[in-house]
């Protein structure tokens, strides 16, 4: 919870699961972010070069994108270097708003000391009984992603009520609900109330799908 704790760095040998083995990839999965940054930068570069410029204003529409491109290439490269030098290994505690604010700065401003660090220690233990291969639970995230993709694909053909019920059900299932039939009921109720309140009440246009054709 750790506004009060320092992030464990690989150098401090603080392995979250107490496993000593460390390969090159450990704590360096953040290269995904570097890849995203480069991808955005390359897309911007292509877009800037191939832009059909209208008008003759100076500085023109390509001026600012060039600055943003340079910024992105620079920051992606710096981030890559930083990940290579000090990989970040996630611990298993909860971090509200972590990364948004410098923990060190807040630490100083709040004159935080041992008491605050201990405040969260009696909360549930930080080392879970079980260990996993990846920090993120990709099965749950994958299920959720499948749910939202299915929702968007089905929204117009099936209509709001049915597709929103499916989405609700999939998310609830992915997040660990065991009452499958009950969940369908809750989802149906939820999406119907939304349809009534926002569709009929506030006049938002929600697709009715094939049911609308039948009724």
């Amino acid at each position: 919870m750790s506004i009060t704790q320092n992030q464990p760095e690989a150098g401090s040998a603080l392995e979250p699961h107490g496993k000593p083995k460390r390969r090159f990839g450990t704590g360096r999965s953040e290269f995904v972010v570097v890849a995203v940054l480069y991808a955005v930068a390359i897309l911007l570069t292509i877009g800037t070069v191939t832009m059909h410029v209208q008008g003759k204003s100076s500085p023109g529409p390509q001026f600012f994108p060039i600055i943003v491109c340079i910024l992105l290439y620079l920051v992606a490269t710096l981030l890559a270097i930083q990940i290579l030098r000090s990989p970040q290994i996630p611990d298993n505690s909860i971090h509200p708003g972590h990364g948004q604010f410098s923990a060190d700065m807040l630490h100083d401003l709040g004159h935080l000391g041992k008491e605050e660090a201990e405040a969260f220690d009696d909360a549930p233990s930080k080392t879970p009984a079980k260990t996993w291969k990846t920090y993120s639970d990709w099965r749950t995230v994958g299920l959720m992603l499948a749910g939202v993709v299915a929702f968007v694909a089905l929204l117009e053909p099936l209509g709001w009520i049915i597709s929103a019920t499916i989405l609700f059900w999939v998310v609830a299932y992915a997040l660990g609900s065991h009452r499958r039939f009950f969940d369908i009921g809750v989802g149906l109720l939820f999406s119907s109330i939304i349809q009534l309140a926002f569709g009929a009440g506030l006049g938002l246009s929600l697709p009715s799908g094939f049911i609308g054709g039948i009724l």
């Binding site: 204003s57 509200p96 990364g99 549930p124 920090y135 939202v148 993709v149 992915a174």
Partner: protein, 502 residues
């Protein structure tokens, strides 16, 4: 006292039965979203923003006033009862608040929060009423170079000065600026990065970006950890939240000190209430040491909770002033509010008071009404609100997912926006996973176009001479203050790194 007259006019238009109903609905929804763990006031505004678009502007903004403060009233509840602050601005109030709850004073802690939020918000909003015209006058002397300097200041303050890692903060800023570039370029009419799709000519909707990053990204993040993170235990509260006169007298100076810390920070783009809440907490801690207060750090001191709570709301109150008068969003929540104005075709800033004066004063009056309603629904029913914490998480997040889809689709009725929402949601998940701050993205998306327009305008006037950017005392001051803040934060980063190595 022209302002008082205008404010009375605002009250007159806000105090109709139907508008009172909107404030009440806004306050209820805002508190509910604020209480729910993990959802701060930024998410409350982002999730509920699209829904209000079917209302006429005055009603919508009146409802926003309720949501805006409502999210802040609720967000300490989960910190106090569960020891898991829902939002980073509630961390400082969690330290002493949870101690109070553990020693059987949960109801007192919740009441301290509610009254603290009320006092902080009230004083800050009053300040806004009296100083907004001054700010507007200040803003009218701003030219393109000054606005560009202000934007640069906001960008760097939020991404480099206050964030954990400067590189990650700037990376977030870059992503935001890139997203803001999509669409038709205003001055020249050139289509930029639209991939030839006419749907993208208006740019990527700010609603899609905020809902994707804050709501869907959060749900993905929760999903990635829900089966792995430990479950927090809740402390039960019984009865009404109440505060006796002795406690009230004890807390009053702390509330006022907190407000004094919070109010100025609303005007500085430092990302919201985190810095002032920690400052307020730190001060109370030092004072407790001097007074030999035995409660502080053991059974929980009412001072240590009251000050940060008032600071958080005071920041939110004056942030509204900076937003309305200067058009400068100083926190993620304010950035989303600015997006709401733009959605209605209004640009916050000096001209807003002239062009839509009625609406602005009705909004300010509703902020007062909202605060009164919030204190009325929070103190007697604090334990009812706490019941929201027992909603099973899978239903909560399923509901949020459905609601974010609803919001985005309701605004544009475009399936393309939903695909974009998923993509941005995944980016939001990655950013949470790797501790990359989100606020710089929002600030960049909102202020990016303004920064670009003003920079090009300034350079067009000077015919490409960069000197114009540092040509006036205002810009020089802004850049100097920024440089000093950057230097200070660099020193601090280095100092902590050195002490960690030892």
């Amino acid at each position: 006292m022209e302002q008082l007259e205008l404010l009375m006019g605002g009250f007159a238009s806000a105090l109709t039965p139907i508008n009172l109903l909107w404030v009440l609905i806004g306050a209820l929804l805002g508190t509910a979203v604020g209480v729910l763990p993990g959802l701060g006031s930024a998410m409350a505004v982002a999730l509920l923003l699209p829904v209000t678009f079917s209302l006429e502007p005055t009603a919508a903004f009146i409802m926003f006033a309720g949501i805006y403060f409502g999210g802040l009233f609720g967000d300490s509840t989960s910190g106090i009862l569960l020891n898991t602050p829902g939002h980073s601005s509630a961390i400082a109030s969690t330290f002493e608040g949870h101690r109070m709850a553990k020693s059987g004073q949960a109801a007192k802690a919740l009441a301290t929060c509610a009254i603290g939020a009320f006092i902080g918000g009230l004083i800050a909003t009053t300040l806004v009423v009296f100083f907004a015209p001054t700010l507007v006058k200040m803003a009218t002397v701003f030219g393109p170079a000054e606005y560009f300097a202000l934007a640069v200041f906001a960008f760097l303050a939020i991404s480099a000065v206050v964030s954990e890692s400067v590189i990650r903060g700037i990376a977030a800023l870059g992503i935001g600026l890139a997203l803001a570039l999509v669409g038709i370029d205003g001055p020249s009419g050139t289509a930029r990065f639209t991939l030839g799709m006419p749907q993208l000519f208006d740019g990527i909707s700010v609603i899609v970006i905020t809902v994707g990053l804050l709501a869907l990204g959060e749900v993905f993040h929760i999903a990635s950890r829900i089966h792995r993170d430990p479950i927090a235990t809740r402390i039960e509260t019984k009865g009404r939240a109440r505060l006796n006169l002795a406690d009230f007298k004890k807390a009053l100076p702390a509330w006022l000190r907190g407000t004094a810390f919070g109010a100025p920070f609303g005007l500085i783009p430092a990302g919201g209430a985190e810095v002032p809440t920690f400052l307020a907490y730190g001060t109370e801690k030092q004072l407790a040491k001097r007074r030999n207060d035995p409660d502080f750090g053991t059974t929980g001191s009412i001072h240590g909770l009251a000050a940060p709570e008032a600071a958080a709301n005071a920041t939110a109150g004056t942030a509204m002033g900076a937003l309305l008068a200067l058009g400068l969003p100083t926190s993620a929540t304010a950035a989303i509010m600015l997006a709401a104005f733009q959605q209605y075709g209004m640009q916050p800033g000096p001209l807003l008071f002239e062009r839509s004066g009625d609406l602005v004063w009705a909004l300010l009056a509703s902020l007062f009404i909202g605060l009164v309603i919030l204190v009325m629904i929070n103190i007697p029913f604090a334990s009812v609100w706490a019941k929201l914490l027992s909603i099973p998480k899978h239903y909560l997040y399923a509901g949020i997912t459905v609601f974010s889809m609803l919001g985005v689709y309701a605004v544009s009725s475009a399936v393309l926006d939903l695909w974009l929402l998923i993509a941005i949601g995944l980016v939001g998940f990655l950013m949470r996973r790797y501790n990359i701050p989100l606020a710089p993205v929002l600030i960049a998306v909102i202020l990016g176009p303004m920064a670009e327009t003003e920079l090009r305008r300034a350079l067009a006037v000077s015919e490409g001479n960069l000197g114009i950017l540092i040509d006036s005392p205002i810009t020089i001051t802004l850049y100097l203050v920024l440089a000093a803040a950057l230097a200070l934060s660099a020193v601090q980063h280095l100092r902590h790194r050195a002490s960690r190595k030892v």
